[in-house]
């Protein structure tokens, strides 16, 4: 069975067997980039010795009282505004459950009055994904299962580290707007870029500071959405795509066999490439939320929200649109997306404004310039380099090498070209070399003249050898073509 991506007037969708379509919503938890935890002054730090960043508040000791971290609130509101949410008065709530990673036996979260509601995120391909809410909550501790076979259900005992317990999180709940696994992957990548650009989180999936759960269902077109299953334990963007596709096909199989999909939480196993059931939702969700009496309501000051808006950096979607326009594209394409991801879009805009050919500029910034070296390359140098290439003074491969060296040394392109002996080869000189190469490769030439295009390889190779790689390959092909049709 396979899942392929198709598109109709409503945009792309995943084509599942028997005409089913995919519907996905994502819940993304991000750790906020603060110095301390959400409700106490313990360091918010990854990788320290277990239980060294703990105090009475985050250990849930009797009599301790939480006080909200001002910076966590600030970052949560900043993220909300970056996702075009409405920032509203909020109340914290207790979510009650028993599990050793929550020593209080409840998690402080937001329930019916979250800080951020009704936003959206635009994917690079233009798809708009709705954001239902982005609420603040505290992270849990980390338990390690010991003994038995190392597997959860036959562990002899568990060890708990509370360093992460109480670390500030925002949970971003999307609407069920994804129709392909690719869109879900693009969303997480885009969200990461926004989190990093705004300084809200370092958004490292491998360190757990960004975690993704996927709600997956399938249905037939023009019928209501199917029953969804929530997939947990997704540890990379790649796994997200695999998990969604596996789960969608599992559900199609069930429905085609005349069974029904039961709402449940499922665990993604990366090694086995499949999901398995953790628990049925029907019995698990009874958290008895109620307002947290130890924390007062938060009422954001409109002036503060205005200040946050004014201080927001330009976000990737806006930067892509600006670069696409400057480069004469109606929509951002892959080269635009990559150049923005590499943080080289300002340089590209300046070089194009200085007259550089946009396609060549984007090609070099996509592949040839190390982003860490960007400060060494003034836009004027880049524009000069592109001009040397456009005028034919440098070949594409020479220009590539010059760009890399411009980044390493900060020298001007002409100086580098001169040092490397990249001088424009006179066409008449090259014509002479091409004629010699034809004479030396008579057999290849005959095959080439008989229409065997790849026979030109031997002749081009001869020219390259004779010019120590300085000849422009495209020009050599042109000269051969001219001679063949003469």
């Amino acid at each position: 069975m396979t899942a392929t991506t198709a598109s109709d007037q409503g945009g792309a969708f995943t084509e599942l067997p028997s005409g089913y379509r995919l519907v996905v919503g994502l819940e993304v938890h991000v750790e906020l980039h603060t110095a301390t935890k959400l409700f106490c002054g313990c360091p918010n730090q990854f990788g320290d010795d277990p239980n060294t960043n703990v105090c009475p508040v985050c250990l849930g000791l009797p009599g301790s009282m939480p006080v909200l971290n001002a910076q966590a609130m600030e970052l949560a509101m900043r993220l909300g505004r970056a996702l075009h949410c409405e920032v509203r008065p909020s109340v914290f709530a207790r979510k009650n459950y028993f599990y050793p990673d929550m020593p209080k036996d409840y998690q402080v979260s937001q329930y019916d009055q979250p800080t951020n509601v009704d936003g959206h995120l635009d994917l690079p391909d233009g798809t708009r994904i709705g954001i239902e809410r982005a609420h603040i909550e505290e992270d849990t501790g980390k338990s390690t299962h010991v003994g038995g076979g190392g597997r959860i259900h036959d562990a002899a005992y568990s060890l708990v580290d509370y360093n992460r317990c109480g670390v500030p999180l925002v949970e971003i709940v999307s609407r069920p707007d994804f129709r392909t696994a690719e869109q879900a992957k693009a969303y997480v990548n885009e969200l990461r870029a926004i989190l990093v650009a705004t300084g809200v989180s370092d958004a490292k999936m491998e360190e757990g500071s960004l975690r993704v759960d996927a709600n997956v269902s399938v249905h037939q077109p023009d019928t209501p959405f199917g029953t969804r299953c929530e997939i947990k334990n997704i540890n990379s963007v790649r796994s997200l795509g695999r998990a969604i596709e596996y789960e969608a096909l599992r559900q199609v199989d069930l429905l085609e066999a005349g069974e029904r999909v039961i709402q449940q939480t499922r665990h993604w196993n990366e090694d086995e490439g499949r999901t398995h059931m953790l628990r049925s939702k029907e019995e698990a969700e009874d958290y008895r939320y109620f307002p947290e009496p130890d924390l007062v309501p938060m009422v954001p000051d409109p002036a503060r929200i205005e200040a946050i808006d004014a201080a927001l950096p330009r976000l990737p979607a806006e930067r892509r649109a600006a670069l696409a326009e400057a480069a004469g594209r109606t929509l951002p394409d892959e080269s635009v997306t990559i150049v923005v991801d590499r943080g080289l879009d300002e340089l590209a805009l300046d070089a194009v404004a200085a007259g550089a050919d946009a396609d060549r500029t984007l090609t070099h910034l996509q592949h040839d310039l190390d982003p860490d070296h960007a400060a060494n390359v003034p836009a004027a140098h880049l524009a000069q380099l592109v001009e040397l290439e456009t005028s034919g003074a440098l070949t594409a491969s020479q220009a590539k090498q010059v760009v890399a060296e411009m980044g390493e040394t900060g020298k001007a392109p002409e100086a580098i070209a001169a040092e490397r002996g990249f001088e424009a080869m006179d066409t008449s000189e090259l014509e002479g070399i091409v004629d010699e190469a034809i004479a030396a490769n008579g057999e290849a030439w005959e095959k080439y003249c008989a229409g065997e295009q790849k026979a030109q390889g031997a002749i081009v190779g001869h020219v390259m050898k004779a010019t120590r790689g300085q000849a422009d390959g495209k020009l050599v092909s042109q000269l051969l073509e001219q001679r063949r049709s003469a």
Partner: protein
Amino acid sequence: MTAPISRDDVAHVARLARLTLTDDELDTFTSQLASILDHAADVEALDLDDVAPTSHPYPLENVVRPDEVRPCLDRDEVLAEAPSAEDGMFRVPPVLGEAP
């Protein structure tokens, strides 16, 4: 008036709170919780259309602290209070299933 809470409701809530109640206790708590809910019903009977829900009784909002690191507890002291510890961590009975 129907009973505001059933014995089954009390048993369910007790199970969620990991409390084991005897039959006598179930009866006692069912009637006690019913009288608390009756009192809430008295309040609910008032015309409260113009009154915003009160999540907190005191007129306070926006209480925050600066994002500054404060000293933590000494780990040995903390773990000495725990029933069991190993490798700097709290040792607890085997956990069945994953966190909600």
